[in-house]
């Protein structure tokens, strides 16, 4: 337990740091005792720093998978009111704008893919560009880029990548409003021109998974999930374009902080008032970055469908949902009995709208939003649903993954990529990756226990567990 930060236990799964010094609101952490003991003091330090930013509302939150990040903790949630001097922060969104997870049903059961699993893995690895230096088949000129940045997944569907029906099951219906492509620099565009429809590297992946366990039959049925069904998880973000937007605006915000009268305890917390030229410019560019990520996952979905059509013609890939976990979005939340329009930053945190939320598609409105939690490649992932209590607990936010338990460097000292691949193969999990060192860095043992994280999220009331899924094929960046 932290000796430096006075954590008060509010409930079995909720901890509080009362405001002291420059903190304007408390810090609240959702975790069980074991997870909180394992958290680095840096998480609490960063949470307290976030709690001191201008215009922050209610509290600075950390999700059960929180670990220390750049400025904001990863697994951090903070909402700001523009009319109270609230800020928007490039560091509070992160470099990989709108990085997220998309889940597809396949209409197949595990028995049907077992005989062709290797063929499926090879075809996916061949067709979906993955890893450092890979390029997509779509090369956008400046006009095409602008249309993509404005239209997101909607643009991708109009280009022939997927179905209109898909858009209903994507946050913002596949197109983030308020994107301003003119705020996306020539350098950011250049980084993206050959990267549409690429998975990237690091912790990004595409997995073919089996529904191994159903926790909530009613919600699973509504989500169209049964035990032994095969589903696909796609985890990637806004690629080079998002990284470049993050890089550039972080610097602009660092340089302008003093002009805006903002005192930064850590330069990485760089932010600008929402109601400022720079704040608005970032929001326009960041929203364009969200569209880039949505378009990217839509194109990868299309490629995945093509592969399944070749290998398993019976397959019918339909979109369960697409969530983003690095964003800042304008949402209305009830604070002290009053509805307020807030700029909610989620950095490594998943939006988790509960039942009845008007932004959910009709098919999901009575049930709550699917919350997709990716685990490490050899373990398991989880599907949850947003809860009724989410809005008061965390502005409808939940965890986003397992979170690393050790550095990449430590992981390569403990594991070799080839032996990780062989060990997973013995357990029926096929890994395809252009980099064995990348596989070692992403070894399952380098991550925390994702089950402990989702259990804590459920018990804290952030989301309901619906199903646990296990990987069978993993295309790893």
């Amino acid at each position: 337990m932290s000796e430096t930060y006075p954590l008060q236990r509010e409930s079995e799964f909720s901890w509080r740091i009362e405001p002291t010094g420059k903190m304007r609101v408390p810090g609240i952490i959702y975790a069980d005792e074991e997870l909180i003991r394992a958290m680095d003091d840096k998480v609490f330090e960063q949470l307290c720093n976030v709690a001191g930013l201008p215009g922050i509302v209610q509290a600075a939150y950390a999700m059960p998978d929180a670990h220390w990040g750049y400025g904001f903790p990863i697994g951090g949630v903070a909402a700001f009111d523009a009319d109270q001097g609230g800020v928007v922060s490039a560091g509070g969104v992160g470099f990989d704008i709108s990085c997220g997870v998309r889940a597809l049903r396949t209409g197949l059961t595990i028995d049907e893919i077992e005989p062709v699993k290797k063929q499926l893995a090879d075809a996916l690895f061949r067709q979906i560009p993955v890893g450092v230096g890979s390029t997509g088949r779509i090369h956008l000129n400046d006009k095409g880029m602008t249309a993509m940045l404005r239209g997101g997944a909607r643009w991708a569907v109009e280009q022939g990548f997927g179905e209109m029906e898909d858009l209903q099951h994507i946050e913002e219906k596949g197109c983030m409003a308020g994107a301003v492509p003119d705020e996306v620099s020539a350098r950011a565009r250049k980084r993206q021109q050959d990267e549409m429809g690429t998975l990237g590297s690091g912790n990004h992946y595409l997995e073919v998974q089996r529904v191994a366990q159903i926790y909530d039959q009613r919600i699973a049925t509504a989500f169209g999930l049964r035990e032994n069904d095969v589903i696909v998880f796609i985890h990637c973000g806004s690629r080079g374009l998002g990284h470049q937007i993050g890089t550039e605006f972080l610097k602009y915000m660092v340089l302008a902080a003093s002009q805006h009268g903002i005192e930064l305890p850590d330069r990485e917390l760089a932010c600008a008032p929402i109601n400022s030229e720079l704040g608005q410019a970032y929001l326009g560019a960041m929203r364009a970055g969200i569209n880039c990520a949505l378009a990217n996952r839509q194109i990868i979905t299309h490629l995945t469908r093509q592969v399944f059509a070749d290998v398993l013609p019976k397959a019918d890939l339909t979109l369960l949902f697409d969530v983003s976990h690095n964003t800042c979005k304008v949402e209305t939340h009830l604070v002290d009995g009053r509805k307020r329009k807030l700029y909610v930053h989620r950095k490594g945190a998943t939006r988790a709208f509960g039942p009845g939320n008007p932004d959910l598609p009709e098919t999901l409105r009575a049930i709550g939003q699917p919350v997709l939690i990716g685990g490490s490649m050899g373990t398991e992932s989880h599907i949850l649903a947003g809860s009724e209590k989410g809005t008061e607990l965390s502005f409808n936010s939940a965890c986003h993954g397992a979170g690393r338990a050790m550095s990449r460097h430590q992981a390569t000292k403990l594991w070799k990529g080839r032996s990780v691949v062989d060990e997973l193969a013995d357990r029926g999990i096929i890994i395809r990756s252009p980099s064995m060192r990348g596989v070692a860095e992403e070894a399952p043992g380098a991550y925390k226990d994702v089950r402990a994280v989702v259990d804590a999220a459920e018990k804290a009331g952030l989301a309901h567990k619906v199903a646990r899924v296990e990987p069978h094929v993993c295309i790893k960046g």
Binding site: V132, G202, G246, L255, P434, S435, G438
Partner: protein, 126 residues
């Protein structure tokens, strides 16, 4: 991931950090230094300049699809004049592990140590 470079001068420390940047992606000895790219950054603050230098390299790596294994840095007034030698990414030979998204302001430090040596460090996002 944290990068740290030491050198007899600030310029050398910047060159060393750049080597560390490549080492996060691949083994340095696998990268041939056959092609040269020039980089120029400008600024008053030497720490911000370090982030600019690394981000300029990240940009060149991403858009030219190259890796670099040799660096030269010179400071002229407020400007950093850099050269990076490398080659196009070869996925078989380099087996690149991660793509660097950007250099951050976290743990950012450029300073002369008590022994006279220069230190340059920051955390990068991969």
């Amino acid at each position: 991931m944290g990068l740290r470079g030491y050198g007899a001068t600030q310029a050398q420390a910047f060159e060393q950090v750049a080597l560390a940047l490549t080492a996060t992606v691949t083994d340095l000895h696998r990268v041939r230094s056959s092609q040269c790219v020039t980089i120029e950054c400008e600024g008053e603050d030497r720490e911000l300049l370090l982030v600019d230098w690394l981000n300029a390299l990240v940009f060149e790596m991403a858009t030219r699809r190259m890796l670099f294994s040799r660096f030269e840095v010179r400071f002229v007034d407020r400007r950093l004049l850099g050269k990076a030698w490398g080659e196009a990414i070869n996925r078989e030979r380099h087996s690149p592990a991660v793509e660097v998204k950007g250099a951050t302001y976290t743990a950012l430090k450029v300073a002369q140590l008590a022994n006279g040596e220069w230190l340059a460090q920051c955390v990068i996002d991969v």
